[in-house]
Symmetry: C2
Subunit: 461 residues, 2 copies
Amino acid sequence: MHAHLALPEVRELIDNKDLATLSEILNEWLPADLASLLHGLRLDEQDLAFRVLTGRVRPQTFAYLDLDTQLRFLKTLPPEEASALLNEMADDDRTSLLSELPTASANQILAMLSPEQRTLARKLLDYAPDAIGRHMTPHFVAVKREWTVQRVLEFIRTHGIDSETLNVIYVVDENHKLIDDIRIREILLAPPQKTVSEIMNRQFVTLQDTDDKRTGVEVFKKYDRTALPVVNRDGILVGVVTIDDVMDIAEQAATQEIQKFGGLEALEEPYVTTPFWTMVKKRASWLVVLFFGELLTATAMGFFEKEIEKAVVLALFVPLIISSGGNSGSQAATLIVRALALGEIRLRDWWKVLGRELSSGFVLGVILGSIGFLRITLWSAFSTAYGEHWLLVAITVSSSLVGIVMWGTIAGSMLPFLLKKAGADPATSSAPFVATLVDVTGLVIYFSMAWLVLRGTLLQE
Amino acid sequence: MHAHLALPEVRELIDNKDLATLSEILNEWLPADLASLLHGLRLDEQDLAFRVLTGRVRPQTFAYLDLDTQLRFLKTLPPEEASALLNEMADDDRTSLLSELPTASANQILAMLSPEQRTLARKLLDYAPDAIGRHMTPHFVAVKREWTVQRVLEFIRTHGIDSETLNVIYVVDENHKLIDDIRIREILLAPPQKTVSEIMNRQFVTLQDTDDKRTGVEVFKKYDRTALPVVNRDGILVGVVTIDDVMDIAEQAATQEIQKFGGLEALEEPYVTTPFWTMVKKRASWLVVLFFGELLTATAMGFFEKEIEKAVVLALFVPLIISSGGNSGSQAATLIVRALALGEIRLRDWWKVLGRELSSGFVLGVILGSIGFLRITLWSAFSTAYGEHWLLVAITVSSSLVGIVMWGTIAGSMLPFLLKKAGADPATSSAPFVATLVDVTGLVIYFSMAWLVLRGTLLQE
């Protein structure tokens, strides 16, 4: 790796207007590093630094910039330079840039493209926003089965320059139907006289152009490929998706899973660039739903108002009881949602999971119940905080804890199965949902237990 | 893609002992699909189906099997077949198999390897469990800078067969120090007479063999590579890490992040294969920590016992109040933890985030507060549930909601910064931690607000 100049040194060169040295140094950098550098500069410095980039370095660096910076350059650069940048961008990068823009801006940018590139860009934008087609590049190397390895290598040398990847090449028939994919290693290891049909194994995996992009992530993971061919309904090879795009899709999907799990609608954009009111809306919607759920706790507590009047000590443990149920429920939901997402468990395994969670919940409940029992007993040895019937209170609290932790564990582990069975995403607000459910039912368990244990004493009519 | 036989048809061939047809069909399948098939079969069927696999298909399929199935085959196959399987496995796959075994079993397996492979396997196992070295393969193509492209292609043809990837080749000096990596596309596109030094750009990214494997994920994402060279302290090229292994590492890391976030210690293994008591321990440890935190709610409630005695109606809203603070806190924590993990925000951005979350918290608090106010007002219009001072109760509850939601939002968004600043993982139990913190402090806010609003009426001395 190169010993890079640090930010202050780049700034000094910019301040001294030593653009010759700056150009010499920066054009040696990797595009991804240049993009990080540019993101750290002031706007005027950014302009100067970007202007000294030459050749392929400039469009490659442009592709790594964030959306705002890209748009700024497209607006501030001379039109012919801006349109050169756009024409040289990889198709999939350009599609994702265009996807993020309002229609008017997207049309402005389309107008800056060469007619050929414009037709192509429009075609890719015709796919649904979540379709694989939006993430593919239509530039790939396709060969015929009767060609020799030597001819393939010559063809690559003369026609391969535009191809997004040369790690895999594709064999098509006379109608452009895909009949095999061949990793470049097979070509490189074969004697030059062999024909393509001799090294074909006809084992290949394809994506449909209209498939959801998340299917792509699954297929890449399962088959360990670096590129996958995309075909249309008729089996015609229309493009290629490469693993770098799939890693981005996977990261986005993980973020949305985590956000849904945290009890809010998934943001489409990074936290910092999401507009304030969009973010508030996405958070408020679930908070309000959960709040309506929690309003039931007030109703439940209302039912036991008489009991609380008689034994205020019962109220003291309400937060402890319901939060213990909520925490154990969140844990169980976390485990099961993730295991379902990874395919470690399936819908039909619910019965096995239930058995396991019943035992786990019991053990966890006994642990928390014992701590609760000890705490009340110890406090009562040194104070009168819990009154003369402290032992009965301790029994009420600890046995409720066992029940509530078990109930939380079961609710937390089964709700994801129910959501999945109903066709919903198991991640959707599972943890806060479970917490709300367990809050309401936990109160009922607690006060019922209190009635059982204390009806002869504290709760006497 | 091939029209695969479905499971029932494979079973029929096994039942009829038609192994010739079975072999013919199965050897056409992709290894990943064969592994899925085997995982779905009964053990006796599994044995038969695996035995008909021939050539490279068998070791390749073996690499995709889960650990338990791999171990079973190693034990039940004739020793020479088992040792052939092990000798033919890719180095990185073998290292991860050996990593998961207790020392005794690992030694048994090492003994089955050829002396050469054994030395290699031992070397890789010498790396720390989380080091990049464990995930690399020492088989790659290294060339000299004075070679022509033609010579490189010939070298690959004769020596490349063992290399894990041929998508990237490496240029080393006479001391095996890495001086560049060249994507195979550059070689394929260059005229045969060009020398390697003419197509070198000396821009390359390396991983250190002792780096943490998660660094690898970051570097792959940043530079969009399909393979990265691994060097030792002296810059000597010792191995290559490929993207398929990195995707597995990334998935594991995401799982552990989600589990930590859900309030439990990360499991090392899938939910289904984690032993019962290991799982209970990992869940109990955090539940107990959080329980001790929640015990403070009982203490806090104790301080307000007098107030509750005078106005039992106050107790009815305790679960609603604290859970609203908890939910808004979890939301904020989720957003910030993920944004920190993705590098969208940095430690120094805490001030900007605080400003944003103060406003979000206020708006969200006003929304929930208004709903709470309406609910109490409406109920009181039709019942005497909240007594004669229902309006004051409504004011107490709704203003507390504003305060608690704001406080939850701030605590939830700032705690991840504090954890990161302290060198801890911001994901660690953030959501339940915040919930516990907000539960305790929320009670103080609520009862203080009650004292302010109700001291002349319900809470009169």
